[in-house]
């Protein structure tokens, strides 16, 4: 049977300019990669022993904050984007 093919990126709506809202402190990051496991949009990857956040994250992030919650080194800092911008959930 044909598996249902879904492009998750096409199933997210957003509005406005969020500005920056996630940062990673490289001096704390030990490159464990847990942020990459948690992110369902695949926005984190480890290279050179450090977590790297996609430069396109403001267009793709779901604002779930899992990368912040899972980081035991507290290298990831997450704040919600500016009021009235970012993800819009119509069928939550």
């Amino acid at each position: 049977m044909e598996e249902m093919k879904i492009d998750l990126k096409k199933l997210v709506k957003r509005v406005g300019e969020t500005g920056e809202f996630i940062t990673c402190d490289e001096s704390r990051c030990d490159g464990c990669g847990r942020c990459a496991d948690a992110c369902s949009m695949g926005l984190w990857a480890v290279s050179g022993g450090k977590a790297r956040l996609s430069p396109r994250y403001t267009e793709l992030c779901l604002e779930c904050a899992a990368c912040w919650e899972i980081c035991e080194r507290e290298a990831v800092d997450f704040h919600y984007p500016r009021g009235g911008t970012g993800v819009v959930i119509e069928y939550g």
Binding site: M4, L8, V12, A38, C64, E69, I70, F78, R82, G83
Partner: protein
């Protein structure tokens, strides 16, 4: 600087219930929503269960008027084997006994947060609270060691006698005030996919039911709305996964019976969401000077089911009542606001968490642990051959032959039950504290006609005489 009696951060169900209650008690109240409208930022399974009829009947009575409402009267469990075959579909619904316990029997409701949240916010504004949308509270104002207001991301300062933070699992107010940073343990991530579908076909195929999918490597919920449904699955963030949370959904979507259902109701994937859900043994600290946390911000969701909307509304109401009490006293100290915790602990919200550790252990030993889940599904599928809840089991051949066949299969499996019980069931009991074993036994006492007149002490003494396995719990020593 503007000044209010109460600033509520967040216009989800907890925030709107807090604002509604505060305004109704005559307090000058503003509540803030970071989205363009309430519900813009929120996703949850969002099934509202029977206790809503007891605690918020005026809300339940209005829900059928909301566009996404679906009545829920049944839960259907789908069990799938390791080859993705559907092996058992079993539904449970209300009985006459339930009708005596709940005013509306087992009736519940499903409604999208994009409907529910604006509806609850409007109740609060109708009651006199002021709503500001597209407003993110990004910091707190501290005054002499207490929270005395908030700062918006636009730099606006709003003063308050009491701040009620209903700002979700990643509570900005809890972080900014120094109450806590990340949860560290006990927080889950819930990816959720919404499907749109044909309303009439959903009525025919699924009706007024919630569905669950359980297989060897996952447990997922399917909450059904008027013309769509959610497929979601959670996993604790403390684990080292062999399956990423989003991949658990893909496993369900690969089940042929799931795909058949989606074809039958003309389902198409419509929206993808992910959110954090605190799934805690115990809630976090819920108050400090000038600040109370409600709903997910305090870690209140149900430790058995992860349900959180009722918990948010219940704690929001208690927080607003406590704010009114503190304002009457003119004292916003931590000591005065500790009244909040005293009150929620005494409510049914507090009772919910008395067995928090045991409920969390239950999941940790089953759906959230792939190895144990695999074994349990296998055993359930073996048992389902007996169809224990049905008289419609296999009578296809000569009846006594069939019965003997089933009986001999059952007897063959007995050693396996013993082995399974020792390895997989016993550890559940090991997680239960002696104090809660005693509490559970005392809760059973009123149902036992011969024993209900005994004092608790005498009753437990008697049980300890009769049961060797209970004795260590009842005599104050750890089990095993």
């Amino acid at each position: 600087m503007e000044e209010y009696d109460v600033v509520v951060v967040g216009a989800g169900p907890g925030g709107s219930m807090a604002a509604f209650t505060a305004a109704g008690l005559g307090l000058e109240t503003v509540f803030l929503e970071r989205g363009r409208k309430p519900g813009d930022k929120n996703s949850s399974g969002c099934g509202l269960g029977q206790r809503w009829w007891r605690d918020f009947p005026e809300i339940m009575g209005e829900l059928p008027g909301l566009p996404s409402y679906r009545k829920v009267e049944m839960v259907v469990i789908n069990l799938v084997d390791e080859d993705n075959r559907l092996r058992m579909r079993s539904g449970t619904t209300g009985s006459d006994l339930d009708a005596t316990r709940w005013p509306h029997g087992m009736e519940g409701a499903s409604v999208y947060r994009s409907c529910l949240d604006p509806f609850l916010a409007k109740r609060a504004t109708d009651e006199g609270a002021e709503l500001r949308t597209a407003t993110l509270a990004s910091d707190v104002i501290m005054d002499d060691g207490r929270v005395a207001g908030i700062v918006t991301d636009a730099g606006e300062r709003i003063g308050a006698k009491v701040v009620i933070a209903a700002d979700g699992a990643m509570s900005t107010m809890a972080r900014a005030s120094g109450m806590r940073n990340r949860w560290g343990a006990g927080c889950t991530l819930v990816p959720q996919l919404d499907f749109g579908c044909d309303e009439g076909k959903l009525d025919d195929v699924i009706g007024n039911a919630e569905w669950c999918w359980f297989g060897p490597f996952y447990g997922a919920y399917q909450v059904n709305f008027r013309e769509g449904f959610h497929l979601g699955a959670g996993q604790w963030l403390r684990r080292d996964w062999d399956t990423r949370p989003v991949d658990m959904l893909k496993r369900v979507m690969a089940i042929p019976a799931f795909q058949a259902m989606t074809r039958a109701v003309d389902a198409r994937p419509r929206e993808y969401q992910a959110h954090l859900l605190p799934w805690m043994e115990k809630p976090a600290k819920s108050f400090s000077a000038g600040l109370m946390l409600v709903g997910d911000a305090a870690g209140f969701p149900c430790p058995l089911e992860g349900e959180g909307v009722w918990h948010a509304c219940t704690s929001g109401r208690i927080a607003a009542e406590t704010a009114a009490y503190a304002i009457r006293k003119g004292d916003f100290s931590e000591r005065t606001l500790s009244e909040y915790e005293r009150r929620w602990r005494a409510s049914s919200l507090g009772l919910e968490h008395e067995f928090g550790r045991e409920f969390v252990e239950l999941w940790d030993n089953s759906a959230f642990d792939p190895e144990k889940m695999g074994r349990q599904i296998q055993l359930l599928l073996e048992l389902s051959m007996l169809n224990p809840f049905s008289i419609c089991f296999d009578w296809g051949d000569a009846h006594m032959e069939c019965l003997n066949m089933h009986l001999s299969h059952f007897l063959d499996m007995l050693p396996e039950f013993g082995e399974f019980g020792g390895r997989y069931i016993k550890p559940f009991a090991r997680g239960i504290s002696p104090g809660n074993v005693r509490r559970m036994l005392c809760m059973m006492k009123p149902r036992l006609p011969a024993l209900r007149r005994l004092s608790d002490e005498r009753y437990l003494w008697l049980l300890a005489r009769f049961s060797r396995s209970l004795r260590p719990y009842l005599e104050g020593r750890e089990g095993e």
